[in-house]
């Protein structure tokens, strides 16, 4: 049962009652420290130090400071599981603080599915080092040999039994003062009592009772409400503002800094009405490319620079080789977060506090300090959960805008985006054009070449400009990269020659962002669709063809277990009844994420309705090997989410734009999956508790597009190579084939 705990000091209390770890909140649902002004600056924040991660409190609890944040993916339970396990303490005794630049170490952005894989492993090592230190301290106290002692239940005691010494009395009042020891011995996974258990997430009861405080619900005393006015065209300049148009709205003020325009007011509803009423004149702008020919113009872009990413082997000469070429296109997509972005900022003369749902509080400290013209250590960003984000939606823009406005008006300011702003202005998953050519002979791949056309702004650490500072003409430094979107462009199968070439485009049509599983859903869509095309050319069953080219036993197992889940019947695609009014089929895809992380097998069963072009996904089967699972139910939830979100992207999503602006500004023009579209999902979690954890947040996304395209081909004999697979597109393809 959840319980409200009044916290003293900064800690967010976690406590266990009736088997469930629960998080208690102070004041309006947030840790009291969240209200402290400015940077605290007293805590050790160097991630090389144990004290940055762990503090033993006088009451026998331990506070865990985590630089990674929970966006609904379950780190709030998984991280305490790891720490409590390794320390030897009841998980109920772990307090948890996340994503606060003044309190938690910088563990990097929460992205790339690396929360557990990197962040959790770091915390495990910190806890192991702490345990070693505690045992050594106790050994001195007890005049015993450290090897004869064990840490358990928050005490160090002799393995032979007898009374122990509490952690608190060993270190309280002082710090560990030890560096993370990469050699500190880790607990044997066979002895785990917490890691590997599906413990319930502490944030769930509040989320089910309307008592969780999201950033959209967060407020501070004296706060004003703001709405930013977006230009009618992306690159338009503000020519004039008629402030008298809002003079009748009480308590409302217009803020203009160059092209940055906003209204700020005491009452939210009044401010919203004023934002609608405000009259402003903007210049014309029409710098976007033609949407209908986007793929062609990417292909022919004069700014292209080619880079060979992979080149290995030589193509074997073969008399009977069958060669193919195919071109695939993945359009721009929105995060389409369910709640529009929001943030609160309180900027004073010498310091700033920003409450934000950003996945990168630490990374943004420098960025925000620069445009606010404050020293970095005087800018504090505090994570407050928002509506789900899958990379970088508008949260970071909203926070920058709140900060600019708070600095301008001298009061705390809350910026809330509208639905149209979120759909129109969130940074977008970039468009990806991928061409594959290859050849198959004697049942194996003898040649493979992938060419990809992708925006250069997705490569390395280049600037994703934040909207507010950009419009206001303020310093707008390096944002973040959009993830390595060129990964997994090569097949995971044996081939005589493999070459991958990236053709970098100087610009992206819209601001690109790292949208969940950056780039990999498109690359795997191309690679795994083409693999099926080769299998068909070779007259082979898609599973058998893949197994032929795989050696890694974990790859083989994941593929076989996917096939088993599907009761796969070996035969080449397409099936024999592609002309049926409702054609049924099955498809499979496989990925070894980034060639070094999670293994995923994805199977789909579909029905394609010839008359309408409608694809009904009837069943999805997924075998998943992410190494050690901290919380298997959490892994399962991530896989379910990955599958459904990506199915939505594949079946229905494409950002629409004209030459001036995004035009798909609501859920009608940019629809996402509904309950009636949801298939049955079967998941097989492969247990490898003695292996390192590899991440579960996004790998499954990558295999969805190809599995679906392969199933549609198997069912109806048409090969879909362009997203989204709308009924209109499918019908047109079927028409071409069926006539």
């Amino acid at each position: 049962m959840n319980k409200i705990v009044r916290t003293s000091g900064f800690s967010r209390r976690a406590l266990l009652k009736g088997g469930a770890l629960t998080v208690g909140f102070a004041l309006s649902g947030l840790p009291r420290g969240a209200f402290a002004q400015g940077a605290a600056g007293t805590r050790m924040l160097d991630p090389k130090e144990v004290d940055a991660f762990l503090a033993v409190n006088g009451d026998g609890t331990v506070t865990l400071f985590c630089g990674k944040v929970d966006l609904g993916q379950g780190l709030r339970i998984a991280m305490p599981q790891i720490a409590a396990e390794e320390l030897g303490i009841d998980i109920a005794k772990i307090n948890y603080i996340e994503g606060d630049t003044a309190l938690t170490p910088n563990q990097g952005r929460t992205s790339g599915s690396n929360g557990i894989q990197r962040g959790g492993v770091q915390i495990r090592q910190a806890a192991a080092t702490a345990r070693k230190a505690l045992v050594e301290l106790a050994a001195q106290r007890l005049q015993a040999n450290a090897d004869d002692l064990v840490a358990v239940d928050g005490q160090v005691r002799r393995k032979s039994g007898g009374p122990g010494i509490d952690f608190a009395s060993l270190v309280v009042g002082r710090q560990f003062d030890v560096k993370l020891d990469p050699k500190a011995p880790l607990k044997d996974p066979a002895a785990y009592t917490l890691v590997g258990k599906s413990l319930p997430r502490p944030d769930v009861p509040a989320k089910c009772t309307g008592t969780a405080t999201y950033i959209q619900d967060f407020s501070v005393p004296g706060m004003l409400h703001a709405r930013v006015i977006r230009p009618p065209a992306i690159g338009a300049e503000l020519q004039s503002v008629d402030e008298s148009s809002v003079k009748d709205f009480s308590g409302v003020k217009v803020v203009r800094i160059k092209n940055f325009l906003a209204v700020v007011g005491e009452d939210e509803w009044t401010t919203m009405r004023a934002a609608r009423a405000l009259k402003a004149q903007w210049s014309e702008w029409s710098g976007l490319p033609e949407q209908a020919t986007l793929a062609q113009s990417m292909h022919a872009d004069p700014s292209l620079t080619a880079q060979t990413l992979i080149s290995k082997g030589t193509a074997a000469k073969s008399e009977n080789a069958k060669a193919l070429t195919a071109r695939y296109f993945w359009p721009m997509q929105s995060h389409a977060s369910l709640g529009p972005s929001c943030a609160v900022a309180d900027v004073r003369a010498d310091s700033a506090t920003v409450w934000t749902a950003s996945q990168g509080t630490h990374g943004n400290q420098t960025t925000y300090a620069r445009f606010l013209k404050l020293p970095k250590d005087k800018v504090r960003l505090i994570y407050v959960e928002g509506s789900g984000c899958y990379g970088m939606n508008g949260h970071e823009d909203a926070a920058a805008e709140a900060a600019i406005l708070s600095q301008a008006v001298g009061r705390p300011v809350r910026v809330q985006w509208t639905r149209a702003e979120e759909h129109g202005w969130d940074p977008k998953g970039p468009p990806q054009l991928i061409e594959v050519s290859g050849a198959v002979a004697d049942g194996r791949i003898v040649d493979w070449r992938t060419d990809m056309w992708i925006p250069q702004t997705t490569r390395g650490l280049l600037n994703i400009p934040l909207l507010g500072p950009e419009a206001a003409g303020l310093d707008n430094i390096v944002g973040l990269n959009t993830g390595l979107i060129s990964q997994n462009g090569d097949p995971p199968y044996a081939a005589d020659r493999i070459e991958v070439v990236a053709h970098w485009l100087k610009t992206a049509p819209l601001r690109p962002a790292p949208l969940r599983s950056p780039g990999k859903p498109a690359n795997c869509f191309a690679v795994e669709s083409f693999t099926d095309e080769l299998a068909t050319a070779a007259g082979l069953d898609p599973v058998a063809f893949r197994l032929n080219g795989l050696k890694d036993p974990r790859a083989v197992e994941v593929l076989k277990r996917t096939a088993a889940l599907m009761k796969w019947q070996a035969r080449p695609s397409p099936g024999s009844n592609t002309a049926a009014a409702v054609a049924k089929g099955r498809g499979i895809a496989y990925i070894h994420y980034k060639h070094s992380e999670t293994y995923v097998g994805m199977g789909m069963e579909v029905a394609v309705e010839r008359a309408t072009g409608r694809i009904k996904v009837e069943r999805v089967a997924c075998a998943h090997d992410c190494g050690q699972m901290i919380n298997p139910d959490g892994v399962r939830a991530q896989i379910e989410g990955s599958i459904l979100q990506t199915l939505s992207r594949v079946l229905m999503e494409e950002v629409k734009f004209d030459r001036s602006r995004v035009t798909s500004l609501d859920w009608a023009s940019y629809p996402i999956m509904r309950f009636s579209d949801v298939p049955k999902i079967d998941i097989d979690l492969i247990e490898r508790q003695t292996e390192p954890p590899l991440g579960a947040g996004e790998a499954a996304c990558a295999a969805v597009g190809a599995a679906l395209a392969n199933a549609v081909f198997d069912a109806a004999g048409v090969r879909l190579r362009t997203l989204p697979f709308t009924p209109e597109r499918v019908k047109a393809e079927l028409g071409g084939k069926a006539s």
Partner: protein, 154 residues
């Protein structure tokens, strides 16, 4: 400012609004009932769903003036973390929410369904919830939780 009398979660409240068209969603949120969420303000997502005289309605689409004289129930009126309503308990048991931004609306739509149809089929559940969007992909668990709340294993 004109004031309006509303019956929210069983008690009468007087709220102020500069105009009669202020959506109920903002009235509720301004009154500290932030369980109903702003998702679109367009009647397209269901994040703001509440019960109006027992029927699931999008509170962003109802004006404060029209909400007078009706029984309004928000997620806060169903149950608390300590004493959750059976649907809330089922959602907690099934660990439904990811980000959870859609969850209040889902629970309110489910509550309306179960009050009219105590033993819905899975298809009934999907139909009743089809106007509620979820971006994180919690759908499978939502259906399972509603079936469990109605005493059926989904």
């Amino acid at each position: 400012m004109p004031s309006y009398r509303l019956r929210i979660n069983g008690s009468e409240r007087s709220v102020e609004s500069p105009d009669a068209d202020k959506p109920l969603l903002y009235v509720l949120r301004d009154a500290g009932l932030t369980g109903a969420k702003f998702g679109c303000g367009l009647g397209q997502c269901g994040a703001c769903t509440v019960l109006i005289d027992g029927t699931a309605m999008q509170s962003c689409q109802m004006t404060v003036a029209d909400a007078q004289g009706k029984a309004i129930v928000t997620i806060e009126g169903l149950g608390t973390p300590a004493k959750p309503h059976p649907i809330q308990a089922a959602f907690i048991q099934e660990q439904v929410p990811q980000c959870g931004y859609c969850t209040s609306g889902m629970i309110m739509s489910a509550a309306a369904l179960l009050s009219k149809n105590a033993k819905p089929s899975e298809d009934d559940v999907r139909t009743a919830l089809d106007l509620n969007l979820c971006r994180c992909g919690s759908h499978v668990r939502v259906v399972r939780a509603v079936m469990a709340a109605s005493g059926q294993r989904g």
